[in-house]
Symmetry: C2
Subunit: 122 residues, 2 copies
């Protein structure tokens, strides 16, 4: 049985779990890249905060930086983000599977009780 929560996912989840980082990914995807300064202009946080988040995303491999003159342009690593999305949805799928199994078991118990006429209230 595949464990629904492996240690491998944790870095990815923590990278994408922060709301500011999710919005940064949105902006980078929409604009096709950006710098800490341009991003901070479109977010409710300072440039330094954005810089830290870019560092996190970079270490997670979700973005990569390209020094251009005095600027430092960041772009989304498409392949990595695609892999990330796949990981996230696989966890969701695992939970869904467990939920459905629970529902099936519950229904089976109810059927069995009806059949034997048991009333199993404690």
């Amino acid at each position: 049985m595949s464990p629904t929560t492996t240690a491998v996912d944790d870095d990815l989840w923590s990278a994408v779990g922060d709301p500011t980082r999710r919005r940064m990914l949105d902006l980078l995807l929409g604009d096709g890249g950006g710098t800490a300064t341009t991003l901070s202009g479109r977010l409710p946080v300072t440039r330094q905060a954005v810089a830290k988040h870019l560092g996190v995303l970079d270490r997670a491999g979700l973005v990569h930086a390209t020094p251009a003159g005095r600027e430092r342009r960041y772009e989304v690593d498409e392949a990595q983000l695609a892999r990330a999305v796949a990981q996230l949805s696989s966890v969701g799928a695992a939970w869904d599977a467990r939920l459905q199994r629970i529902r099936r078991i519950a229904e089976a118990i109810q059927r069995a009780e009806r059949q034997t006429g048991e009333s199993a209230e404690d």
Copy 2:
């Protein structure tokens, strides 16, 4: 265009973004419920830490408590978790859509350049 990151999702993401809370959901799903004590026995954290997380999950509506004698049993709210999974995968789907749009645009540009004979290497 639906914004891929709305403020509504933030509570949900922060509830499910923590690795310990994800594992707690796993255990609760697998065992069909549990108490702070039983969960802490199967996790690398103390009972008090588990209790705090159960509070977070409870406020997020993902679990609900049932006082039973001197114990306090928690169970997953299936409907809420199902809704949560749907939200998460919708964000992933939005990112996927953006990625595919970017790829299409990039391919279109390459085709156009090949056609006109331009070599736009900077």
